[in-house]
Symmetry: C2
Subunit: 332 residues, 2 copies
Amino acid sequence: MTTIYDVARQAQVSPATVSRVLNGRTTVDPSMAARVQQAMRDLDYRPNAVARNLRLSQTSLWAVIISDIENPFFTSMVRGVEDVAQGAGFSVVLCNSDEDPEKESRYVAAALAEQMAGVIISTSGRPTVINRLVEARMPVVAIDRQLRGVNVDTVLVDNVHGAELATAHLLDGGYRRVACVTGPRRISTAAQRLRGYQRALKSRGGPASDNLIRFADFREEGGYRAMASLLDGSEPPDAVFATNNLMTVGAVECLIDRGVKVPAEFGVVGFDDIPWAHLVRPSLSTVSQPTYDLGRSAAVLLAERIANPARTPSTITLRTGLQIRESSTRHR
Amino acid sequence: MTTIYDVARQAQVSPATVSRVLNGRTTVDPSMAARVQQAMRDLDYRPNAVARNLRLSQTSLWAVIISDIENPFFTSMVRGVEDVAQGAGFSVVLCNSDEDPEKESRYVAAALAEQMAGVIISTSGRPTVINRLVEARMPVVAIDRQLRGVNVDTVLVDNVHGAELATAHLLDGGYRRVACVTGPRRISTAAQRLRGYQRALKSRGGPASDNLIRFADFREEGGYRAMASLLDGSEPPDAVFATNNLMTVGAVECLIDRGVKVPAEFGVVGFDDIPWAHLVRPSLSTVSQPTYDLGRSAAVLLAERIANPARTPSTITLRTGLQIRESSTRHR
DNA sequence: TTGAAAGCGCTAACAT
DNA sequence: ATGTTAGCGCTTTCAA
């Protein structure tokens, strides 16, 4: 491996000068700088980031820890992060926790051990994991999912509002028994969207019964099973609000398998879009989220925190909007 | 930051002993080891991976560099990589090159600079990038896309065969003028799938004309535009074989927008599945690939290469299969 | 079995 | 403006 010492010898300067050139310090004589550049090229020198990291105790890498890499919601978010990161001189590495606190914990440990410059995390819900980051003074931004009892920069959407909108839309459309399939209780989005659902029921005098609520896992199969369980209940619903995109797909699959007609007999609204939603029949009504901006905003907060670690943490809440399509409109 | 020196002092041993305990060396007295463990706990010691990396000149991180993080094909592949990596004691970080050789190059540089343990790459097509990896003796596996002139471990699918199958199926179904929308020429999968298409045309005596071929970008919009251009040609096709999932979606969107009836008037077969394909109307016939196994196989190769850098590189070719659904069957 | 000490490649005081 | 040098935290050779 070629080191700055090799370059220094070749260019007849000191290692310090090489380092200065490497870091674009202006305090170096142009002719000397040129000699160093040439030597680097001649020797095909590549800086060793690990040594640099050790010296500076920090990297130019951001870790983005998400809970499901196969969910287009997260991958779209990542694009937003990347674009900002590139601009600020950071590279983004993605870590997939797979909704598994164990894996999440491993990636957090890796981010800490590798001294990454910052972490953007959509947590699987165990607060201790984040605490490790905060205690180690790692710059961290919570995205999509809120952290209880930890005061960190956060980017969210107005989950309660969006869920309320979706549920109200179903009730207003003439569906009577609107069910809700939500995610794990420990995850803030699952809880908040459930709350929005309940709020809409209360304000419209809909039947609020625990029999109409299912807690699933934010995945397709979980949505399918929850839907099946609702249909098999004693008083089955005639509409469902599913609190994420994958579970919505699962629910619709179940309805198709059972031969239930959507939207004629049964209304469906989901949370967050899916790609090629327009090709799906019936096309799905959803609460749409600004996924890309979610990523962008988180990245901006992270960059600011790295630049100024003492800043008071702030929370950005982005708006959601109801996209009405076929699956929730009985009379076309 | 707590270091092994702090732990050593606390446990009344030498730093060397702490290091030995840390690495599970058996040559250390049990009672001493216990004392060290206790001290680590007391001080909440966390090993500094960067220092360790510098000393050993390698990490326990694998970089997986893919060309489109929003393409479910790649994310599914990553799951396969992850499962093997975990088992072998590595963590996987994902890098999204976005089909941009520039970004790809940046991530390759990062993987090199950070001295990652290995790289799995689905290249955007510039051979110099991979050469940098090979020259630096970085363990590397090419996945999905082949590298010309570089002898590295590779995992592919039988692209020519799959494409031939798809095209033949359309011709056999009575479609006459079968077009092909493929990806950038420099990418091996685009070239090979085109070759399979041409081979099928030749063997069945179909009309092989450059007017029926379009080179797009493996993205949805590219597929849309290519389809539009085909339809606007002087002798428009009555069927299309699109060489990846996203372009297939784009092509279908275009057909819908133009009011072309699929499959009655126009046949469509794609390469690689899309999620919730069963919800899409018409459901799409595709050449399916074992995405998860692709990832698994690449990971196994990488682990072997790391363990034994001198091994001769091998190429694994996995099978594809034709999934016939609605979009290519005229008479149901 | 344990400890002392060198050194991985780099940056930044500090000295010149 | 440039050079000398200490040291980031760890592993490992060598000596005891």
